[in-house]
């Protein structure tokens, strides 16, 4: 999978590229509008991570250019602006998703994976983790052909960990991902612990032992 990251903050750009390289993506980066234009004109990408504020132009402008050229690369906008107008403008211009800074890399990763699944998997909407199978359209989880009954929160939690398999995901990233509603005013990340506990118990009952690890109190990791 080929990924282009367009972001003017070089250290953030580095982080994102480093993160996705470890996810086995072919990663390229662009720090200015002109460089980004050159890259999208010359190459095709499966997914473009696009910052709105760029030196020399706007990410929205670039997106328009891309869609006017009938290029269908998946685009996820990242922006420091938490404004609904930007979000609507971005999605109207044909962006596939929108993430607000500061975001968690694990969140961005989950979004990229979801986008790629939606765009390129041709109906194969299942995720396999060991003997665990997640069927995305029906939201049915089976372990060795036995159904595992999860609550909505536990399902979202498992899917998020699965998207970030073999990586440590922080409690805050999990909390922000699975909480529906404005997280800053929400319950705080403490609630994650009890849902992890329940999820682990349910997976244990179906024989999937020790696939979710707690990492020194930093967060959790789904190990395959």
């Amino acid at each position: 999978m080929k990924l282009l990251v367009i972001e003017d903050e070089s250290s953030l750009l580095d982080s994102i590229i480093q993160f996705f390289k470890r996810e086995q993506f072919l990663c390229e980066g662009a720090g200015t509008y002109a460089e980004a234009v050159r890259r999208v004109e010359d190459f095709r990408y499966d997914c473009i991570i696009l910052d709105i504020n760029l030196p020399g132009g706007s990410g929205l402008q670039l997106l328009k250019l891309l869609r006017d050229d009938k290029k269908s690369d998946g685009v996820i906008i990242i922006s420091a602006r938490d404004s609904l107008d930007d979000k609507i403008a971005g999605l109207d211009l044909g962006a596939d998703d929108y993430v607000t800074k500061p975001f968690h890399l694990s969140e961005l990763n989950a979004r990229v994976k979801a986008l790629i699944r939606r765009k390129y998997s041709d109906g194969a909407h299942t995720i396999h983790i060991g003997n665990l199978k997640i069927d995305l359209p029906s939201r049915i989880i089976t372990a060795a052909d036995q159904p595992v009954l999860l609550s909505k929160i536990e399902y979202n939690l498992l899917l998020f960990l699965a998207s970030n398999k073999n990586r440590v995901v922080s409690r805050q990233a999990i909390a922000e991902h699975i909480y529906e509603g404005p997280f800053e005013q929400g319950p705080g990340p403490e609630f994650v612990y009890s849902h992890i506990k329940n999820l682990k118990r349910k997976l244990n009952e179906r024989g999937c032992r020790e696939i979710i690890h707690s990492v020194y109190g930093l967060g959790y990791k789904l190990v395959v």
């Binding site: 602006r81 890399l105 694990s106 319950p187 849902h195 990492v215 930093l218």
Partner: protein
């Protein structure tokens, strides 16, 4: 105790004008009286001269006594000290049965060897009457004048001060947070008030500018902070996956992460606060608050499965508010979050909603600070690292935006927040 300008003005007029008028009246009376005495004297002297001339020139002589006119006597019967001096006397009128006052003058004249003594009379009754009538008329005129001055003064000052009272009203209604310019006319027709209004306008403009600069600064600062926060977060996430991670490094990384998360939450709340300040939520919709409240409570119950204080609700269905839905959600969630986080083991939360108010009561630790102060930014009831210290500031700001009244009562570990939607 302060009095109004008009009261003060009237009071000083009523204190000093009568005094001035009293002194004026006495002076008037004294001057008038002295003129009248002078007139009497002139009249008496004229009469003396006429009588003496007549006595000398009429060959057959004239009557020696005419009552109340003159007496002519030969020789000098009167004592010396009475000669040539005006004096008062009373003469009895038997026909009408009372005494009348007269001014009397006695003079001596010589004709050959004979000395004549002539006494002339002038009725002072009419003169005294005139004096009294004039004084009364003067007093009446003065009283009328006093009334007129007070009334005219009150009328004039009322119209004169109207621009001043208008200015005061405008200033009282002015609210810097609503950020509307203060419009004061520079043409009141009174130079002093024009100057006052112009001075106030420029003062308010300066204050507004300073306030806006500060708001802009906060907004820019929290906006600029987002990128470094994102960088720190991404680096921490990369380090979490680093192969050399030991427990010690992980603990320190965890501390960095927690601090950074708290910082970014604080920043988001601060950003939200400045956006409310800057009126970036102008759109008003009919918000089903009953529904939002119930949904938020269900959310909390789902996410905190089993660890929550007992939540008891009494929510009137179908309550709507004219507001922005995300702000109302922020309001509800902050109040709920506060009631849940600042609770005690085995505690409770009561939520009540009516068309008039939202009322949340919870058990919790005893507060050492004035609950009203908790609405200030970064003010916390106790040191608590899980909170940003901005939740109640947000609540207050949202309530201020929609003109809700918000009250925080605390008594012996029972906390109650009341949001009153409308004062009617």
């Amino acid at each position: 105790m302060s009095k109004s300008l008009q009261q003060k003005n009237t009071r000083s007029l009523l204190t000093w004008l009568p005094l001035v008028m009293l002194v004026g009246s006495i002076g008037f009376y004294l001057v008038l009286r002295s003129h009248i005495y002078h007139l009497q004297e002139q009249q008496l002297e004229l009469k003396q001269e006429n009588t003496w001339n007549t006595l000398r020139s009429v060959p057959g002589g004239i009557p020696l006594h005419i009552k109340c006119e003159y007496d002519i006597e030969k020789g000098t019967p009167a004592p010396r000290q009475l000669i040539g001096r005006q004096r008062d006397t009373s003469i009895y009128y038997p026909s009408v049965g009372h005494w009348d006052a007269f001014a009397v003058l006695t003079e001596q004249y010589k004709l050959g060897d004979t000395t004549y003594q002539i006494t002339t009379y002038f009725s002072s009754k009419e003169i005294t009457h005139l004096l009294i009538k004039l004084s009364i008329a003067e007093a009446v005129i003065f009283l009328l004048l006093l009334g007129a001055i007070v009334i005219i003064n009150r009328r004039t000052s009322r119209t004169l001060w109207t621009p001043f009272y208008d200015t005061m009203d405008a200033i009282r209604r002015y609210d810097i947070q609503r950020n509307k310019p203060l419009v004061l006319t520079g043409r009141t027709g009174v130079d002093e008030f024009d100057r006052l209004n112009l001075t106030l306008t420029s003062l308010i403009d300066d204050v507004n500018r300073a306030y806006n600069n500060q708001k802009q600064f906060t907004e820019n600062a929290s906006h600029e902070l987002q990128t470094p926060l994102a960088i720190i977060r991404s680096k921490v996430e990369l380090l979490m996956d680093a192969p050399f991670l030991t427990e010690e490094i992980a603990t320190q990384l965890g501390d960095i992460n927690d601090a950074n998360e708290r910082l970014s939450q604080m920043n988001k709340n601060l950003f939200l606060l400045t956006r409310i300040d800057n009126h970036q939520f102008p759109e008003l919709h009919r918000i089903p608050i009953s529904h939002l409240l119930e949904r938020s409570i269900i959310h909390y119950q789902e996410y905190y499965s089993g660890e929550l204080p007992a939540i008891k609700t009494c929510i009137e269905t179908g309550v709507h508010l004219q507001a922005n839905s995300s702000l109302i959600e922020v309001l509800i969630n902050n109040l709920l979050r506060n009631a849940i986080i600042h609770n005690v083991p085995g505690g409770y939360v009561h939520v009540r909603l009516t068309g008039k108010e939202l009322w949340i009561e919870n058990s919790g630790p005893i507060l050492n600070v004035d609950p009203q102060r908790l609405f200030e930014r970064f003010r916390k009831g106790r040191e608590e690292s899980r909170t940003t210290g901005l939740g109640l500031a947000l609540v207050k700001q949202i309530c201020h935006l929609y003109q809700f009244e918000v009250q925080y009562l605390h008594e012996e570990g029972i906390h109650r927040i009341q949001v009153i939607f409308s004062s009617e």
